[in-house]
Symmetry: C2
Subunit: 359 residues, 2 copies
């Protein structure tokens, strides 16, 4: 720790609600930041409801047995407990990493302050960094590949639209990282933002190089990304995706050699004073800077700083809303101002130029 | 069976020499055609030496634990038993499929009848057929991939040369199948032909499409073609190559849909009457014809007919040489004539044109 304080580790089975609740009571924790696997959300949330602790997470709940559920995903799990959170006066902030999280705050800010009507929200996530390996995923390969093997859902023309991964690609002109190709991808924030802005098209785009797509396509077409076991000629039952995970680099091992930058932001289009208008609100992060400060790569940094900022806002009461909320339901300005000071500076680019975003 | 006769199946552990010898004695078999896996050769050969039965195989012996041994490969196993075969008066014909096998006879014929000196023997194997699957190997994936993950050995300038797979490619202008790209590959016949023709360069080239190379490269670079076990996060030990085999199509399932042709032959260069000369001796086979006749695809047909032809020549005494021999040590003409009548017609292309090869 870089400042004086106490930091204590405990181990707990996060899928055992009673054990998590006991740990919350034993430690007196008032805020729980759940950055466990996406499979544990509902168990930890239940423990918070039972104990009154605030709950924060960074990704939507997933059932390990289901690759891609019917939208809206939040409606399948988290939102079913919204009334219980309100009744218990429990603050639960869902999806408060970078994307989802900061990008939801960007969308809210654009809609509130820069546009009169919102016609489309395109969230674009570009990692223009290089890890120097022949191939690696940036986070747990099992979770990474699961994002892309199912149907790609987007919200367009007031309805859910279905595509396949890498079916719809588009080049985006981005600050710092330049023109980058990104592909329509299913992602958590499309589900919550489309509920708040049902008249807008809401799309998520993730940048992929041709090399990633090629490796993914080979593995996927051969059946090596399947979560269903296959039997070898010798009779051994193997889940292909778990073997692929075992042969790939451990993503945490990439950090020391990672160079380059990420650019993640929202292109929001609509009208202002009766004329068409567009605003791009974004952050640029640097892998080497992230490693120098924290020992982690940029992908971990952008995902890890926002929930801590959110926890600070819950602690000081600013975001202690005593119910369940997605980030776009909360005032974005204190959150973005805090991120400006915590290493994730926010910028805006529109007809008035490209400038720092401060309030 | 298409003609009257008796065909009886027995099961035996082919790595148990005593059991194989007992079966030879019990059936009174005088000729053993070993088309088992490349791992069983030396056990079956020993059973033939003990019982006096003739031995034929179609591929060099391999140790399952070793991917690519030091050349010459025949010298590591089979040729060590040559004196024992001669002493016992046992005929053992090594590598008498198509390649190795028929292509060795082509080389011998070119050297004997069409050239005065031999400067190079380039064996080119092109499968221009299509099986209609996204990806498949044409025979057991485990054996197929093992051929390409090690060092590529060729005999050039009077010495063994080392390359990596897909490092050296060359376009070949072939009859029927047209111009095809093939890659320098290690193969059995390079080891025996270079012993007989040490002053010639001896190379083997196998045709690969870009798609095969891409899939191979992805799997190989990720470590998924390794024969060494890896451990998953759950603690399961898995040999990656065996899982890859499990997810790929069973090659025997390809036959009904296989279309197109194969072209396999020898470009032999040297001099004739003091002038440079080149001859190409080859066969073209058709996947659909092979399936209509036998229910198997062309790759199985070209590999399966030659050892039967050789067995007929052993049975009638023509090739019953009472010692160990590679195909290039035997008179090629009766073998090639027999293949002409058994569905594998041979052709020659040289300065005098492209014509059937008959004696």
């Amino acid at each position: 720790m870089k400042v004086a304080g106490s930091f204590t580790a405990h181990s707990v089975d996060a899928m055992d609600t009673a054990a998590v609740a006991d740990l919350i009571r034993a430690t007196g924790a008032q805020i729980v930041i759940n950055v466990g696997s996406a499979f544990v959300n509902m168990y930890v949330l239940e423990a918070c409801i039972q104990t009154g602790a605030a709950y924060l997470d960074t990704a939507i709940h997933e059932d390990p047995a289901k690759i891609c559920e019917i939208p809206p995903w939040y409606g399948n799990y988290e939102w079913k407990r919204r009334a219980d959170c309100a009744a218990a006066g429990v603050t639960a902030i869902l999806g408060v990493g970078f994307d989802p999280g900061v990008v939801n705050a960007y969308a809210r800010l654009a809609a509130d302050d820069y546009l009169d009507t919102v016609e489309s929200i395109d969230i674009v996530d570009i990692n223009a960094g290089s890890h120097g390996r022949w191939f690696s995923t940036n986070f747990d390969p099992e979770i990474n590949f699961r994002e892309f093997t199912g149907t790609v859902y987007s919200w367009q023309n007031g309805a859910w639209q279905s595509n396949k991964m890498f079916e719809v690609g588009k080049e985006w002109d981005m600050p710092v990282v330049g023109t980058q190709k990104a592909y329509l991808t299913g992602h958590d924030e499309v589900h919550s933002l489309s509920a708040r802005y049902p008249d807008a098209d809401v799309r998520f785009w993730m940048g992929f190089g041709d090399h990633y797509i090629n490796v993914f396509t080979v593995l996927n077409n051969l059946g090596l990304l399947s979560e269903k076991p296959v039997k070898t000629a010798e009779g051994l039952e193997v889940v292909p995706l778990k073997l692929v995970k075992a042969v790939l680099p451990d993503p945490s091992s990439l950090a020391p050699d990672y160079t380059g930058k990420t650019c993640i932001g929202d292109f929001v289009r609509g009208t202002k004073d009766g004329a068409p208008a567009e605003v791009f609100i974004y952050n640029v992060a640097d892998h080497e800077d992230a490693y120098a400060e924290t020992g982690a790569q940029g992908i971990s940094y952008t995902a890890g700083v926002p929930p801590v900022a959110a926890a600070l806002l819950v602690a000081d009461g600013t975001w202690d809303v005593k119910t369940m909320a997605n980030v776009e339901e909360l005032d974005p300005k204190p959150f973005l101002n805090l991120l400006n000071r915590m290493g994730l500076p926010n910028r805006i680019k529109d007809a008035n130029g490209d400038r720092a975003l401060e309030f």
